[in-house]
């Protein structure tokens, strides 16, 4: 069964039962794999009303058909579950090497059910799959857990996926980490893993993955690599400066949210940019499995070293908290990696707390640590540690900005959508990107349809960021194509150089399919609607397709985009129509029948 391993694992942690089940190839191709196929299994097997941290919720860790293949960046996996942060479907993507290792061990994905009565980890060594005691690792940071597991299992070539203390303590911002520094970061998936008393999954695989059509595979992969090599963004921009080269572009465009979105231009942003990172702290570039781009950064400040920080992290701890101290940002990023926290939500939640304090809504006696003041490098580092430990006021931060702002009587100060903190773009100045943020199935997120590419960077063509024209169409296509890329097991950054036809060619050659581009994009549409239906059934309806009040009602106060608000109410009807939904935003029966998910 080329492309797919053909087998998946079902592991019940309550009973200790481990089953190997065969994958239905037709079903797999219909939902592609990864995010799509895992979402199918989640919608089939989990009651949308389930309490996310209840043993009845399931955690699906899934590779795609191109994971572990020769396709460039084919190392990715997705974690799909019901999110404890947002109550929506969660699907968090990660790179590194773990995904390819699971595939080589012979499994497309793992469905994890129930709850172990004591801390455990799963050990996969090709055919041998065991649930083992993890008492020794519980409470340990991600780096130490990874080192100990590799030592104890005696195989330095194994790959480790683990949660840190944040996941164990059920922080709703907890990530699942792999290869120490890579994160399935968003939506609190680490808390679901922690709620099952599952500390880690160690994978080791020695199988060889063969493409269905060898000659065709060689030629389509060669073609994709050539495009990546010839594209200036993927061959120069990303490798030289990493993702944080975006800091200055977004700031100069006047859409760089500052002090919890109170301003949209950060005068000293350059002190935290990719250029400064490269000049002062970069040790080396890092690449994920089979990646010719190598956008990863390994950086060092004194004793603190590791991968990152990425653009979004530099923003969430930087401008968002008014901090221009890159050393402090690197240290806060390091705590996120070690405790297993989502850097976007963690930084943005601290920014929200800073505004709550600024407005006098929090009793200063409650702040059992450095003052939460915009601009404080000390605060971002120490409060991240306290958040990871769920210590004192840090325990409140660990539940995210929506619950925090609600508790202090100012829900509008949480800059989130569906309770997931928005990333590094002030959408008042980027109308298409704002529409995609409001309609994303997992909430405030930039990687469900990265409209920054056309609206700011000019890829594949330049769109006026302030115009509404055609934006609904662009958002739908980007969302569908992204669902395809995530489901194939590739990195979204390939899309700066590749188009839908390239993904089709690689999928067809490697998985032995004969899909047209239209049917591939229709699979993306199918996945999008499937996720939407899960959310609707979970009680997260169209009324949640919204943006924080500040972005809709308060014009940008200064800088290049001064005076603009996001015009969501004008865009939503067109978007619903483009999706083939009714005017209330509900998928119609015809639409679902057409996508064969009725």
């Amino acid at each position: 069964m080329a492309g797919y391993a053909g087998t998946f694992l079902r592991i019940n942690l309550s009973t200790g039962q481990i089953d190997k089940e065969s994958l239905d190839l037709e079903l797999a191709a219909k939902f592609i794999g990864g995010r799509g196929l895992a979402s199918y299994f989640l919608t089939q097997e989990v009651d949308p009303d389930v309490e996310p941290l209840d043993p009845a919720n399931k955690l699906i860790v899934a590779t795609g058909p191109l994971t572990g293949s020769r396709a460039p960046t084919g190392g990715r996996y997705m974690v799909v579950t019901k999110s404890p942060l947002s109550g929506t479907i969660a699907s968090s993507n990660s790179g590194g090497f773990w995904g390819a290792e699971l595939k080589r061990a012979g499994y497309d994905f793992i469905i994890i059910e129930g709850k172990s009565d004591k801390p455990c980890y799963i050990h996969i060594n090709d055919d041998t799959v065991e649930i083992r005691d993890a008492g020794k690792y519980w409470g340990k940071l991600v780096g130490e857990t990874t080192d100990l597991l590799l030592e104890d299992t005696g195989d330095p070539k194994a790959r480790v996926l683990t949660i840190g203390p944040a996941g164990e303590k059920l922080s709703l911002l907890a990530a699942i980490m792999n290869d120490k520094y890579r994160a399935a970061g968003r939506s609190g998936v680490g808390a679901v893993m922690g709620s099952k008393n599952l500390k880690a999954i160690v994978a080791r695989g020695t199988g060889k993955l063969k493409p269905a059509r060898e000659d065709e595979c060689k030629s389509v992969v060669k073609n994709a690599l050539k495009k990546i090599r010839e594209n200036d963004v993927t061959s120069k921009g990303l490798p030289t400066y990493g993702t944080s080269v975006l800091v200055n572009v977004i700031n100069e465009s006047g859409i760089y949210p500052t002090n919890n979105f109170q301003e949209s231009y950060f005068p000293t942003a350059d002190k935290t940019s990719g250029e400064t990172l490269a000049e002062k702290y970069l040790v080396r570039n890092v690449a994920c499995f089979a990646c010719p781009i190598a956008c990863g950064r390994y950086s060092k400040v004194g004793e603190v070293e590791g991968e990152g920080p990425e653009y979004e992290t530099i923003w969430s701890y930087g401008a968002s908290c008014g901090v221009d101290d890159l050393e402090a940002i690197i240290k806060a990023n390091n705590w996120c990696n070690e405790y297993g926290l989502d850097t976007i939500s963690a930084g943005a939640t601290i920014a929200c707390a800073m505004e709550l304090c600024q407005k006098g809504l929090v009793d200063p006696d409650e702040i059992d640590g450095p003052a939460l003041e915009f601009g404080s490098g000390e605060a971002i580092v120490e409060w991240t540690r306290k958040m990871g430990e769920s210590e004192g006021f840090g325990a409140k931060l660990a539940l995210g900005s929506a619950r925090l702002a609600e508790q202090y009587g100012a829900p509008e100060l949480s800059m989130s959508v569906k309770k997931l903190e928005l990333p590094a773009y002030d959408v008042r100045g980027i109308q298409g990107h704002g529409l995609q943020s409001a309609t994303s199935n997992r909430g405030g997120c930039h990687v469900r349809g990265y409209l920054i590419a056309p609206e700011i960077i000019g890829l594949p063509e330049k769109l006026d960021p302030l115009s509404l024209e055609g934006k609904a169409v662009w958002v739908k296509i980007f969302q569908d194509l992204t669902a395809v890329i995530d489901s194939l097991g590739l990195c979204l950054f390939t899309s700066f150089a590749l188009g839908a036809d390239d993904y089709r060619d690689m999928f067809n050659a490697i998985a032995g399919q004969d899909l047209t581009t239209e049917s591939l994009l229709q699979a993306g549409d199918r996945i999008w609607n499937l996720e939407r239906m899960f959310n609707l059934n979970a009680g997260v309806g169209p009324e949640q397709d919204k943006l924080p009040r500040r972005l809709l009602a308060e014009p940008i106060s200064s800088g290049p985009c001064k005076g603009h608000v996001h015009r969501l109410p004008e865009l939503l009807p067109e978007y619903y129509k483009e999706r083939g939904w009714d005017e209330k935003g509900l998928p119609t029966e015809e639409k679902l029948a057409q996508l064969e998910i009725a």
Binding site: G237, V245, L246, N248, E252, E312, H446, G559
Partner: protein, 74 residues
């Protein structure tokens, strides 16, 4: 006229980060790029006072101009 020019990423190499430049009245962004010896095809993102513009754009006194090579992130 006097404009403020900000260069980013690889454009800084051998040039500068930020500088005030005196330009003849009526200069376009293209003229400025020529003066900086940056090929128009390499200047993928050019922002004047926060708005993306093309090489034909006529510059004015006190404009703030940001010039980027092809880059992306996310």
């Amino acid at each position: 006229m006097v404009v403020e020019v900000r260069l980013f990423a690889s454009f800084r190499e051998g040039r500068f980060k930020e500088k005030e430049l005196e330009l003849p009245e009526g200069s376009s962004l293209g003229d400025l790029l020529a003066q900086l010896e940056i090929a128009q095809k390499d200047a993928k993102i050019t922002i004047v006072n926060g708005s993306a513009v093309s090489a034909e754009h006529k510059l004015s006194d006190h404009d703030v101009i940001a010039i980027f090579p092809p880059i992306a992130g996310g």
